[in-house]
């Protein structure tokens, strides 16, 4: 049986989670969904799960994407090295630079082209 790489999607918008789940599944990945930053972190650091990549939305209530990213990168858990793609509606250069300097692996701007997101996912985890 071929192992399916798993992708954790952290986004507060249900429609976005649903379509990413649908599209990534179509491409042979195993998507895991989290509707806020805390759920996402719980899922990432859960030993039962194995997460190969995180797709992280920036604009979220309570804990935004930057805060989630910081918590991932500063933890002692082996999962802290997981590649992260930031999904941001903030087209501003500053937001992109901030994400990358905090350790994001790549970024995709909303509204995104799925083909672009897919190729970035493939570059990182194949």
């Amino acid at each position: 049986m071929i192992y399916k790489k798993s992708i954790l999607i952290i986004d507060d918008m249900k429609h976005i989670r649903d379509i990413l789940w649908f599209s990534l599944k179509q491409e042979g990945y195993r998507p895991i969904l989290a509707e806020n930053g805390q759920r996402g972190l719980d899922c990432l650091f859960d030993k039962e799960n194995r997460v190969d990549l995180v797709i992280l939305d920036v604009m979220m209530p309570k804990m935004d994407g930057f805060q989630v990213l910081e918590k991932i990168r500063t933890s002692n858990d082996p999962a802290s090295k997981t590649p992260v793609i930031m999904l941001t509606a903030k087209a501003q250069r500053e937001a992109v630079i901030k994400g990358l300097s905090m350790g994001a692996s790549d970024y995709v701007l909303k509204p995104y082209k799925f083909a672009e997101l897919l190729s970035k996912v493939q570059n990182l985890i194949g």
Partner: protein
Amino acid sequence: MTKPLEKDHQFLTRTISSLTDQVDLFETFQDLSLKIISQFDLNAIFSTFSGIVKEVVSYQSITIYLFHEDGKRFSRAYPLERATQNRREDLPDTGIIHWVMDQGRWTVITDFLDQKATAITSILPIKSPRQAVGFLVMTTDVDPSLYNQKLTSILNFLASQTAIAIENQSLVARINNSNAYLTNMLESISNGIMAVNMKGEVTLINKNVTAILGIKIKKIISLHYQSFLKGNLRQEMDQLFAGILDKGFVMESMVHHSPFKGIHIMIGITASLLIDKNRNTIGIIFIFRDMSASREIERLTRLDEMKSEFVSNVSHELRTPLSIIKAYSEALLTQVKPQDHDTREQFLSVIDSETDRLSTIVSNLLDLSRIEAGKFRLDYSVFSLKDLVNSVISVFKAKPSNIDILTDFHENLPEIEADLEKIREVLINLIANSVKFSPMGGTVSITVEHQEGFVSCSVSDTGIGIPKDKIKHIFKKFYRVDNSDIAEIPGTGLGLSIVKHILDAHRGRIAVDSVLGEGSVFTFFLPISRS
């Protein structure tokens, strides 16, 4: 034996007479010096002085010169215009003048050998114990040395009294100048400044106090502040007055004040103690500031912050449905299999509802720009509010949701004259809010009633409610209650401000009642007809 007695008698008579003379002389001196010293105006001093001189010496002309501050140069001070009969200025040589000043007494300076001299010139130094103030040049027909010693000493005395009077006058002028300087400063300060003594009576005030506080009384000095300040302001002043005497230093406070009918301003008052050089408290100084300007700046700054927040909200609000529409249509085009009808159906309905959301945002933005541009017009027609409510909720009911929408229409509802499309917008905004702010599901009830000349429509929900302190802000443009700790609820902060604007334009109104965590009720009232 009578002879020595006679002698004694004569001696006594002479002595008494000379003593009487001296007493007379002293009295004259005192009289004259009082006359001169009591003058505080330079011209009055000079004319009194020359008048008295005229009584003792019959002169042809006199001229008074005053030294400059350097004590060397001098210029004519009296009379200012040269008398016409004076053909030329008979001003003696500077060296001679300074020599006479050093002598310090009335001195004749005409050269007697000069046969052509038509008059005799003499100089009377005007010297105070401190300094040489000036001198008087006098021309006489008769040789002044013929006058007796008594007269000379009277003149010298008069001159020294005049010097003191001139000195006093310049001190008074300096005090007046610095007073005027302080008054100018006081008046040019844009705040109101008022000092009171320990009894509360005004000792100093500038015009801005009357302007800021709207006081109409002209003479305020020495009135008690309680006699011209009323209401809030007087209470606040009483508290400050008592408080500062009790606690000392400086106290600040703010008070609402209405200086004129219909005008309300916020006044900031600073009170501080007035202390004299012996560290005794002698009064209180109050400074009044009109805070309206600083509050206006605060308001504009806040508006500016809300606008930039709005721009970032709007771009997020526009991008989110766009991202969703883009992602779903892309998936439909490339990934969803043609035979997978369920998925196609589901994705298309997401696209449909997100398109509705986009169009609401866009129409709100357009409304706002029309309102801002003053191009907001109503297009009146007569219609049934009940039918409109039903048509609006049918759209909401068509969408899958976990919210029940109930209606309650009272009987015999009249038709109303209003702008149908604008009222539709009001209903959409209010119902959409109710649904939006009930994230856990619940019930939205819409009730339409007929009241005297009005119809009322209330939209109530079982949602998250509005914090009490935020209710008064929710109709402001761009305002959004920060409820991020409850749920992320999208919005631009425009809906309710547009709703209010539409109702205001119809001469209607809107009321809101809300309990945090239990729900909100928005009720709007519309007149049945435009007139």
